[in-house]
């Protein structure tokens, strides 16, 4: 018996070792999983059970300076479709006929833009109740399709100030990747242009977050935590809805006037009203315009095409800040002021206009717009009559003086650079100089040299000079404001959730050119002459307040003339400046100036009336 037990002992020892080894291995594995990797597994367990559901915060409203709602929100019934729906031809066909939307477009809306967006996409908004009811009753026939209430933008004034307000749309992939949109969801609606885009950071609210505990089947079991969405801030603009309305009507009237005048190609233009003392934009119009409501719930391909083809004249672009035109005679205020400033002319200097100016030699003769000639003209007369010869002489004097002082002076008033307005897409314009010309014609050595004619052409606002309507009105506002160009802006203030101001109005000097009060007042009175005895005389006949201004008629190769008017009032204590420009609209004095008068009338409390004026100057 002892031998039997002795023999078994080592074997049981082996079995014991196996037992201990098995338990030891299991324990070791538990230690690595629960102690070493425990926190990582705990995070995965939370991932399993916790679903975060975000709720969209209402977007802030956009108000005009008097607190009137220009943009607000409204609820709408929206149809949403999951990505899987696009692959289901049967559902696509049914949905297409139900929503009266082509299958191709439906597919576009579901699949376009974002691969990453797993959330169902909005395919239609403002769905009629009958459709909602049908979808609810036939839920099983439409897998992946759901109906939900969504908040969309409402525009109580329709397309008023569409370019200033801008439109909204689903965030793009590029935006989502950008630093400005950190924390945004792929389905967020964001500002795409105008104020909606500029003030996105305050208009966008903070999403609410609800953390739910769900079971393995995804059924919610309880709410772990909940944060209410915080609505976006209301933004008050400097825009005055009444002035804006008159401005848009004046621009539309100018187009009609142009057509009546034989300028049938007139379709596009811009107008701005600005407070000369603060830079506040009271109105900004661009023609043709668009309806920001077409972007709600996603713009259809057809609509998008109609807004972006050449024949549409690009209604989405805000010509007031994005278009670059020849300044034409509106630039003569710069040339004149610069000439006085550098001593190249004087208030009562005289020039003789014979129609053809041959100051640079007979072979380089240039015509005044009045080919029969203005005769003897003083510097002051040059403004009233918009006599080109006077400014050819001053321009030639600048050429001979060297140093590109005319360019420097124009730049000191903001030409050729951004004004810094708080709207996106502003163009810089162009103040040409020798360096620019050389670089621009780098492949054409024979055109690289700066010629006397280049300066002379620029002096009357032609040649290679390009300006935006905003630059023109800002520079005139600067003349009116004792030489200080205030930074143009559309944001008046931002309201807190309690309706109180959290960010007040701003007043900033954008450009402070070196120019004497005396010279400013000389040019000011010359510009006043324009509306009393000059080219805008007809447009301002009987106007109760004294206005200083300048007409312009720009020559553009291959197109009809562009009509300009820029001015400010009242002359003695200037408050507002306006600019009106009409592409292919004809003469500034007869087309643009009457529109300018209407806008100034609204700004200054005068009767808004449409006057007919004759002008054949340039």
């Amino acid at each position: 018996m002892p031998t039997f037990r002795e023999r078994l002992k080592p074997r049981f020892a082996i079995l014991g070792v196996v037992v201990v080894a098995v338990l030891g291995i299991l324990l070791f594995r538990l230690w690595t999983m629960q102690i070493l990797a425990g926190p990582a597994f705990a995070a995965r367990a939370d991932d399993n059970r916790i679903r975060e559901v975000t709720t969209v915060a209402p977007r802030g409203r956009i108000l005009d300076r008097k607190g009137r709602e220009l943009v607000t929100n409204r609820p709408t019934m929206a149809v949403l479709a999951a990505r899987s729906v696009a692959e289901n031809a049967e559902v696509m066909n049914k949905l297409s006929s139900l929503l009266d939307m082509p299958v191709a477009e439906l597919k576009d809306r579901i699949t376009s833009v974002k691969e990453a967006a797993l959330a169902p996409r909005v395919v239609a908004i403002d769905v009629p109740m009958t459709t909602v009811a049908y979808l609810a009753e036939h839920e099983s026939q439409f897998p992946g399709v759901e109906v939900a209430t969504r908040s969309v933008r409402r525009y109580p004034y329709g397309d008023l100030a569409a370019h200033v307000l801008g439109y909204t749309g689903e965030i793009s992939e590029d935006q989502l990747a950008g630093a400005d949109f950190q924390g945004y969801d792929p389905t967020d609606v964001v500002g795409k242009s105008g104020a909606e885009s500029s003030f996105e950071s305050v208009l966008q609210g903070d999403r609410g977050l609800r953390r739910l505990e769900v079971d393995a089947a995804g059924r919610p079991k309880r709410i772990i935590s909940e944060t209410e969405p915080e609505a976006g801030r209301d933004v008050v603009l400097t825009i005055d809805a009444d002035v804006q309305k008159v401005t848009e009507e004046a621009l539309a009237q100018a187009i009609k006037d142009a057509h009546a005048d034989g300028y049938y190609k007139a379709k596009a233009g811009a107008a701005i009203a600005i407070d000369t003392r603060t830079g506040e934009i009271l109105a900004m119009a661009s023609a043709p315009t668009y309806d920001p409501a077409v972007f709600l719930g996603g713009v259809s391909n057809k609509e998008w095409r109609s807004l972006t083809t050449t024949s549409s004249e690009f209604p989405l672009s805000n010509r007031a800040i994005q278009a670059q035109y020849p300044a034409a005679s509106t630039f003569k205020a710069m040339t004149g002021l610069a000439g006085l400033n550098y001593g190249l002319t004087r208030q009562w200097a005289t020039y003789t206009c014979r129609g053809l100016w041959t100051g640079m030699g007979k072979q380089w003769g240039k015509y005044c717009w009045n080919r029969s000639g203005h005769g003897v003209e003083t510097f002051m007369d040059g403004f009233a009559d918009s006599c080109d010869t006077v400014f050819y002489e001053i321009g030639y004097a600048f050429y001979k003086d060297k140093g590109e002082k005319l360019q420097k002076f124009a730049r000191s008033f903001g030409y050729g650079q951004l004004t810094g307005i708080d709207l996106g897409g502003e163009a810089t314009g162009r103040v040409p100089d020798a360096a620019w010309k050389k670089a621009y014609n780098q492949n054409y050595p024979e055109y690289q040299g700066w010629l006397p004619g280049d300066t002379v052409n620029m002096a009357i606002g032609q040649g290679d000079l390009l300006v935006t309507p905003l630059q023109v009105v800002a520079s005139y506002a600067g003349i009116a404001n004792n030489g200080k160009v205030m930074k143009p802006h559309v944001l008046r203030k931002v309201l807190g959730s309690d309706g109180k101001t959290v960010l007040g109005p701003t007043k900033e000097v954008a450009f402070a050119p070196k120019v004497s009060k005396k010279n400013l007042s000389i040019v000011g009175s010359a510009l006043h002459n324009v509306t009393t005895i000059g080219t805008a005389k007809g447009a301002f006949r009987g106007f109760g307040i004294q206005v200083a201004g300048k007409t312009g008629t720009a020559e553009v190769t291959g197109k009809d003339d562009y009509a300009w008017f820029v001015g400010y009032a009242p002359v003695q204590q200037p408050k507002y400046a306006v600019v009106v420009v009409l592409e292919q609209g004809g003469h500034g004095g007869s087309i643009a100036a009457p529109a300018g008068r209407q806008i100034l009338a609204e700004l200054l409390g005068q009767r808004v009336e449409h006057v007919k004026a004759k002008d054949n100057s340039r």
Partner: protein, 381 residues
């Protein structure tokens, strides 16, 4: 006189074994209670579990009272009983299918028990009798093939169920008994190599045959998937790999001290499959953490060491072999069940001794305890 009798009664009982089994059963009941809370019919299930423990006391007592030595002469009838138990579910009117295996015995629509569970014990008794013949030394190939030939009867039948997991338990039981029975290390090496080749080649052959025949030949698809997922858990996380992943998340997220009894999110929110049966350890790991796992493994260590003590005190080789078979069965089931919940072993339907819900299983383990006590009580007589 009284003193002597008291001492003999005391000596007949093994308090350590009964104590550990009692602690494990209580621990198991607590975990089953936590696992079935919130399930449909959870209360009924918990009562059935307690009833399984109570019913188990009967076979425990019976096995204790039976003198194991008498079983040595019943090899033939026991082998037939073994085969009957395994085949019973296949008899029309008696069988029922659950989880892909036809392994339940039912009469008149009433599910009774899984006869393959008690078949494990019958196999132990039969194999012990065969191996004991060689008096502690198995060297000749003839003898080895005889042992394997006897094993082939229950093993072959169980693999036909098909129940791969229980088949592996049979193999483990036999291996442990052969170790005590005196098979040399050389033979263990040969069988290990042959087994590895067989499994590796078999899987390929099976896949090839499935393709050729157009249907499952040996392994069912789900079994194949379980094995493949074990090799590469990321293979199919939503399907076969899902259970493993969720189990690992449950246990890992228990960290040191667990989320608290009844507070496991993986279990209560249904991420854990089969959480009251095969994956009871995942519930334990999640709710009681590393500390809970350590306590359970310590209890198992106590159980197995006590059993080893009983084996070494056996008055004969036959008793020692029976105990070795039970030890091997439990050890393998612990390894397999806990191992599969933490990704060390492939997923099979092997429950955790004294812990998992399931009365057939509980009753079998109670009977095994009775068999150990039978050996212990008769160590001197």
């Amino acid at each position: 006189m009284m003193a002597v009798k008291e001492r003999s009664v005391f000596r007949a009982v093994n308090p350590a074994l009964l104590g550990v089994v009692l602690l494990l059963s209580v621990f198991g009941s607590v975990m089953v209670h936590s696992a079935v809370q919130g399930m449909d019919g959870g209360d009924t299930m918990f009562r059935r579990h307690l009833m399984g423990i109570a019913i188990g006391l009967v076979p425990l007592g019976v096995a204790w009272l039976i003198d194991y030595r008498k079983l040595q002469g019943w090899v033939g009838p026991l082998l037939i009983l073994d085969a009957f138990l395994i085949l019973a579910p296949r008899i029309p009117g008696l069988g029922a299918t659950a989880k892909g295996a036809q392994s339940w015995l039912q009469i008149g629509g009433l599910r009774l028990f899984q006869p393959s569970e008690p078949a494990k014990l019958v196999t132990i008794v039969v194999m012990a009798a065969i191996i004991a013949q060689y008096r502690g030394s198995i060297e000749r190939p003839r003898d080895i093939f005889k042992v394997l030939g006897v094993l082939a009867i229950p093993l072959g039948l169980i693999l036909l169920q098909p129940d791969l997991g229980t088949g592996l338990v049979f193999v483990a039981i036999t291996a442990g008994m052969l170790l005590i029975g005196g098979m040399s290390g050389r033979w263990f090496l040969i069988f290990a190599l042959a087994g590895a080749l067989l499994i590796g080649g078999g899987l390929r052959l099976d896949a090839g045959l499935d393709k050729a025949a157009g249907h499952d030949v040996f392994l069912k698809d789900y079994q194949m998937n379980r094995l493949l997922v074990f090799v590469d858990p990321t293979r199919d996380p939503a399907g076969a790999g899902y259970n493993l992943e969720q189990s690992k998340i449950a246990i890992g997220s228990g960290e040191l001290s667990g989320k608290g009894l009844g507070s496991g999110t993986q279990g209560n929110l249904n991420f854990l499959p089969e959480r009251h049966t095969d994956f009871i350890f995942s519930v334990l790991g999640e709710e009681l953490g590393f500390v809970g796992g350590l306590i359970l493994l310590a209890l198992y260590l106590g159980l197995l060491i006590t059993a080893l003590g009983i084996a070494t005190s056996s008055r004969d080789l036959y008793g020692a072999l029976i105990v070795a078979g039970v030890i091997s069965m439990w050890t393998f089931q612990i390894l397999e069940n806990v191992g599969m919940t933490i990704g060390l072993m492939p997923i099979t339907g092997i429950p955790l001794p004294f812990m998992s819900f399931g009365s057939s299983f509980m009753v079998t383990n109670m009977a095994a305890t009775g068999m150990l006590l039978s050996v212990w009580t008769r160590r001197y007589s």
